[in-house]
């Protein structure tokens, strides 16, 4: 597997959205076995580790929000982070692209490596880092501009000005986010006119346009209806062939459906981590079991 993100995107075999839609129900039914197979593969370290957190401690002022969290993320896998509100899973996610730097009084200790390089090293520029590690937020946050300009935003920041090149990236990214067919005639219209689900896919497309290696998703479906959620889950499965995805979710069914591995957080600590199939059927920690069976949380 080529580690370069750009060739990843080019290599990506993109099924036609129309055929994908038709297959949706059957694809959904077959997910559990699919996940088991992939999870097993993940356990055997079929793909190399791309992002690795090692003994990450994080403090908001004096309050410790993360306690020595270590997780490796393998290339081309989907990893879910679950746990009750305030357990630190979103905070941990934001460590992976240093979005926590924007929060005043937030201090991170430990190491997070991206392709072997510590992203908290002095020499690392957050601008460069965030080009390689894209992020999708909980609430869709399209920029108040045209759909086309939203997608072209990231490439333009890097100085790409050629309209033809940008146009290609826009189409490629919107197709990648399964939104092209719905918006291809309205690219000049405001992104704020889209529905919630479309806005979130637009945000995914916007992140894809910067051709990242890793995609972080912070509860991307929590503001969406079940049909939009389903679309985004399908999309994530598709994107896995080209990207490494880390998703925070409150929805345990969602974690079970889409992820290869799951990590359970509680009060800033990583309690248990493993293949999703095992986590949701046979967790080894009592607290994990209590949480996923709905006894608390």
């Amino acid at each position: 597997m080529n580690t370069s993100s750009i060739s990843n995107l080019a290599d990506k075999a993109m099924p036609e959205p129309s055929t994908r839609k038709a297959e949706a129900p059957s694809a959904r039914n077959s997910t559990p076995q699919f996940n088991v197979a992939m999870a097993a593969a993940g356990e055997q370290n079929a793909t190399p580790v791309i992002v690795e957190a090692e003994k990450v401690d994080l403090f908001y002022g004096t309050k410790q929000a993360l306690k020595s969290v270590s997780i490796p993320f393998h290339q081309n896998t989907i990893s879910a982070l679950i746990g009750p509100s305030g357990c630190g899973k979103s905070t941990f996610l934001r460590c992976l692209n240093r979005m926590n730097d924007l929060i005043e009084g937030c201090r991170t200790e430990g190491e997070v490596t991206l392709s072997g390089e510590n992203i908290y090293a002095k020499s690392v520029d957050t601008v460069m880092l965030r080009q390689r590690v894209g992020m999708v937020f909980q609430k869709p946050n399209p920029f108040p501009m045209a759909i086309w300009d939203n997608i072209a935003y990231g490439p333009r920041l890097r100085g790409i000005k050629n309209k033809a090149v940008l146009g290609e990236i826009v189409e490629e990214s919107l197709r990648g986010a399964a939104l092209w067919d719905e918006v291809k005639d309205d690219l000049k219209k405001s992104a704020l006119g889209l529905s919630g689900g479309q806005q979130q896919r637009l945000c995914i497309a916007r992140a894809l346009a910067t051709k990242p290696e890793v995609l972080l998703m912070d509860e991307p479906c929590s503001a969406l209806d079940p049909i939009s959620t389903l679309k985004i889950e399908e999309l994530m499965r598709e994107l896995r062939s080209a990207y490494t995805i880390v998703i925070v979710t409150h929805n345990m069914q969602q974690a079970a459906r889409v992820s290869d591995t799951t990590a359970f957080f509680l009060l800033g600590e990583l309690i248990e981590r493993g293949a999703s199939a095992k986590m949701f059927t046979d967790p080894s920690d009592k607290r994990t079991e209590d949480y996923i069976t709905g006894r608390f949380g």
Partner: protein, 308 residues
């Protein structure tokens, strides 16, 4: 003590209190409705009152001023003969002074607001500056006149010129621009800033491409309010020594000047009745310039809003 597994209640099982809907009595309801109506009438009448007061003043001014408002009035210099008096030098003076004010205060004000809101963070220095700017906005305008006299006219040697007047008014409106711009920047949702950073934007790219365009309508409102304020100010300019009788159009930044409100003030202090009417004509000119500035601002706001 009793060890009965299920102790029998001494009294018959408690009857839940009878459910009583909390309906108002009809008298009470009538009182509430009456209070509602009275409040509505009060609001309506004060609105009407302020409208009529304005209409009364305006009609008085128009009745007096319209007869004198002709091309000759706009193209003549002031004169001690009422029928020859014109407002040309004051009109030009006001426009020149406001240009200096705008060129100085708008970039400095917006820059300071961006620094305080986006860069400074929450430290002691930023809070100190913040409190002082808020205080400056409340300083009487005549104090700015004294400052302008000491700083621009004397210390920097700009004399009693368009430059001194413009800069003095610039200082006067600077806090207003800063506060309005900060307010507009604060209104930009953080989710957009974070969205931009997450795509690998630098701080300046985020401010330039997201924050400023979204804050623009608010910033424009602040600018236009402050320019209108500067336009109507008389005291600081008289304090720093603007001329009251000017029979020429300023040709440069170092020339003496007068402005519309100073000219109006000058005319109203004359004993002759004709000059009262000329002052009214001057007020009409002043208000026309002000209202067209406001119209421009509304147009610009509309345009930057409809960009979305």
């Amino acid at each position: 003590m009793a060890t009965a597994p299920a102790p029998l209640p001494d009294s018959p099982s408690p009857v839940p209190p009878k459910y009583q809907p909390l309906a108002s009595s009809s008298a009470h309801l009538r009182r509430r409705k009456l209070a509602s109506t009275l409040f509505y009438l009060l609001c309506f009448s004060v609105t009407l009152l302020s409208f009529f007061l304005l209409a009364w003043i305006m009609s008085g001014i128009f009745k007096q001023g319209i007869p004198y408002l002709n091309q000759q009035f706009l193209t003549s210099f002031p004169s001690r003969f009422a029928e020859q008096a014109g407002i040309k030098s004051a009109l030009y003076g006001s426009v020149y002074v406001l240009c200096v004010t705008a060129v100085f205060a708008i970039p400095v004000g917006i820059g300071a607001a961006i620094f305080l809101q986006e860069y400074a963070g929450d430290n002691r220095f930023a809070r100190f500056v913040q409190v002082n700017i808020a205080n400056l906005a409340g300083v009487p305008s005549i104090v700015y006149g004294i400052l302008g006299l000491a700083l621009f006219v004397r210390a920097l040697g700009f004399e009693r010129s368009v430059l001194s007047g413009g800069l003095t008014l610039g200082l006067l409106v600077l806090p207003i621009i800063i506060i309005a711009t900060q307010e507009a920047l604060r209104g930009v949702p953080n989710s957009l800033r974070h969205g931009s950073y997450a795509l690998g934007a630098s701080k300046w790219q985020t401010i330039r491409r997201q924050v400023l365009p979204i804050a623009m309508p608010g910033i424009l409102t602040g600018i236009i309010l402050s320019i209108s304020r500067a336009m109507g100010e008389t005291a600081p300019l008289i304090m720093m020594g603007a001329l009251t009788y000017v029979a020429f159009v300023p040709r440069g930044l170092r020339d003496g000047f007068t402005t519309l409100p100073i000219q109006v003030f000058n005319w109203t202090s004359r004993p002759q009745v004709e000059f009262q009417a000329i002052a009214a004509a001057g007020i009409i000119v002043l208000m026309t310039v002000l209202l067209s500035l406001n119209a421009l601002a509304i147009f610009l706001r509309y345009r930057s809003n409809s960009r979305l």
